[in-house]
Symmetry: C2
Subunit: 407 residues, 2 copies
């Protein structure tokens, strides 16, 4: 019997017990032994749960029990999850987590502590729920350098954008619907302002480069400003609007950013709809690989946690390239302003032709997007340095929207 | 230094040396040592290759060299690849392969020989080129039962169907273009008649169930009969035509088949176009996961072979659930006729209304597909047992096309 503990018995934590129960035979075949959830740490009691008798309120009971080899941390948040995780690692217990905030903010130290203790710190469930993109990047693209990542990694915002695209809904209408269905929180900031996607792309970039960016170096733009007119323009352009978390990775540098993009329909990400996630990994040898699936939800996320538990207990994790992250040194993460993009521009104007000419002159080239609504000029500019573009925007009278084109 | 050998220095075999060269530093970090290609077995000489001096013509030189720990078999075909692979395994060398025919036909024995010798037989590159769906199924969905697989696993036929969809080309026109571009062989039988996809879905089914089906039990249907009228009907239905390799997996049985399907546009497979592959794995916990990427090509396929080499040399493969395949016992693979499908039917008729009524009566229900060309009735039938459907087809005078709807 292999004994594990769960810290935080919420949605995902509860799912873990279910997955282990449901897949008992398969897990036993993989691990060579049964897994038994010996403790559940939570502030609450669960008198009606079949696991009620395993609930403890003192983290040291788990830390001090030599039978416990793996601890699942599904509390969320940095504190006290960080302290609890450190305590477990120092006591030579592997920790697996679904806690993206913690991995993004303190993953460097947690991985270092795990290495020092000779145990594992795994976090497949922290990005993309049940989608195995982290293990995929770490083991299956083995030896191949990752040159870029583009991900739809937030199901809430993707649901909102899908409703806007398919039903012509406004952002507010689509958000309300998402809230009604339980896909969006009452305070949707973490999702719609890109904080969630920011953490996830920081984690994936670290998986690819071993460098953890500082949050302040990762450009983040809200998707609250996307309108039905933007969605309509994206359709005429031949694509759709998606909120992407992206990384462009060079030999000694990376640019990491989260913002809405026009995604052309020849990119598979343009078809990732509703609450689904899609993570596209580019590399010179394997070319494009995309991982697609449910990026959140009780069972998929719990399933990913259990897969990590199995990977520790079967000894696979120990053999995998152990992640040695460090905080990215100054200059490694290049400023967002140094990127170049084509832009979609929508400008309210009485004289679209003149307006288009002015944009062409300013941006060094631009094509008119056909089918504009009355009273607007719409253009797709040539590629231009982000910094230059920003300095030009204030001069464009009537500019209502500017959205980058994914490349 | 870790020494490996390559058997078969063709497109993929040559790619392996390139990938190892190109990713030297990363491979060393993963394996803890450099990889050196010591021998290349081929009938030919390669005087102009930098690897020319490593070419040997006697397989025993490799088999007898105790320094060789991994052999990459990239010959293709069953003979002599099977004998060579068995020889290597018996001499305690792990074998990694891109040879789908061999894995499908003799994988059971090769895996058994590998187990007996305490070495590995890995075949990620045999399905989906650089797409890591086999490792994904084996390790990342750990503990989760696979209930179904649907894959676009043949880039050639997908290219043909994409041209038919996007350009309105006929099958023959699209095939000619694919041949001109080098995507299709002069004799396209293996691709367009589904043999290639059949082998691949047999392999993936075995990965999921440990049971290798007999080729004769895996239904296979050509896609030569798909016409522009079918593509047009699929678009009106709200989807597209794809050649799928599919498995429906129960507790003690599986149904495995390859045929063209109407794939509705709410399924991500409907957007997998051109030479790309998409493999969708369904399971109760993780729900739908799709792996997407280039399913063939020198570098992606070689990259997958090298990832397997790395997995052996780093010790990961040893810890992974070792595949223990057996030949599926009688009755495990259920006859295709026992499945039920909805059907698209196109019937040439002067009186579409009467025809529709007749189909409704015969099939127990059917909806008219709107927008049919003059002189045709088009229907989407209710779900019906395959055997019953087949017995009804001869009675439908003027029946020009029947295509199953993916579910």
């Amino acid at each position: 019997m292999k004994y594990i503990a769960i810290i935080g018995f919420g949605v995902v934590g509860g799912g873990i017990t279910e997955v282990i129960e449901q897949n008992k035979a398969a897990v036993k075949r993989l691990v060579g032994d049964e897994i038994y959830v010996k403790y559940i740490l939570d502030l609450r009691e669960f008198p009606d749960s079949p696991y009620g008798d395993r609930v403890v309120h003192d983290v040291n009971i788990i830390a001090d029990d030599p039978e416990i080899s793996v601890v699942c941390e599904t509390m969320g948040g940095v504190n006290p999850a960080f302290d609890f995780s450190m305590l477990m690692l120092k006591n030579k217990k592997s920790v697996v987590t679904s806690n993206k905030e913690l991995v993004a903010k303190r993953g460097v130290e947690l991985l270092s502590a795990a290495r020092q203790a000779g145990v594992q710190y795994l976090f497949e469930a922290s990005v993309g729920g049940g989608i195995p993109e982290i293990r995929g990047m770490r083991t299956s693209l083995a030896g191949d350098t990752v040159s870029g990542i583009d991900g739809i990694m937030n199901g809430t915002t993707n649901y909102i954008l899908t409703r806007m695209k398919k039903d012509g809904a406004s952002f507010d209408e689509a958000l309300s619907e998402a809230q009604r269905l339980g896909y969006a929180e009452k305070d949707p900031t973490a999702d719609v302002d890109g904080f969630d996607a920011q953490r996830k792309i920081m984690i994936l970039t670290a998986v690819a480069t071993d460098m953890m960016a500082d949050e302040g170096d990762v450009y983040r733009e809200t998707m609250r400003n996307i309108t039905p007119l933007d969605m309509d323009a994206a359709a005429r352009f031949g694509g759709t609007v998606k909120l992407l978390g992206s990384a462009r990775i060079g030999e000694d540098s990376a640019s990491v950013f989260v913002c809405p993009f026009f995604v052309p329909s020849d990119c598979p990400l343009s078809f990732v709809d509703d609450v689904y996630n899609g993570i596209r990994v580019m590399s010179p040898v394997t070319a494009d690989v995309m991982f697609y699936g449910r990026g959140a939800g009780r069972m998929p996320t719990a399933g990913a946690v259990v897969a990590d538990v199995v990977s520790v207990l079967s000894g696979i994790a120990e053999k995998e390239r152990s992640a040695k992250w460090e905080y990215a040194p100054d200059g490694y993460i290049t400023p967002f302003e140094e990127n170049s993009f084509s832009y979609y521009l929508r400008i309210r104007t009485e004289s679209p032709e003149e307006c288009a000419e002015a944009v062409r002159l300013a941006f060094g080239g631009a094509e008119i997007l056909q089918g504009s609504p009355e009273g607007f000029a719409e253009l797709i500019t040539d590629e231009i340095n982000e910094k230059d573009a920003r300095s030009l925007f204030p001069s464009l009278e009537g500019l209502e929207s500017h959205i980058r084109i994914m490349k």
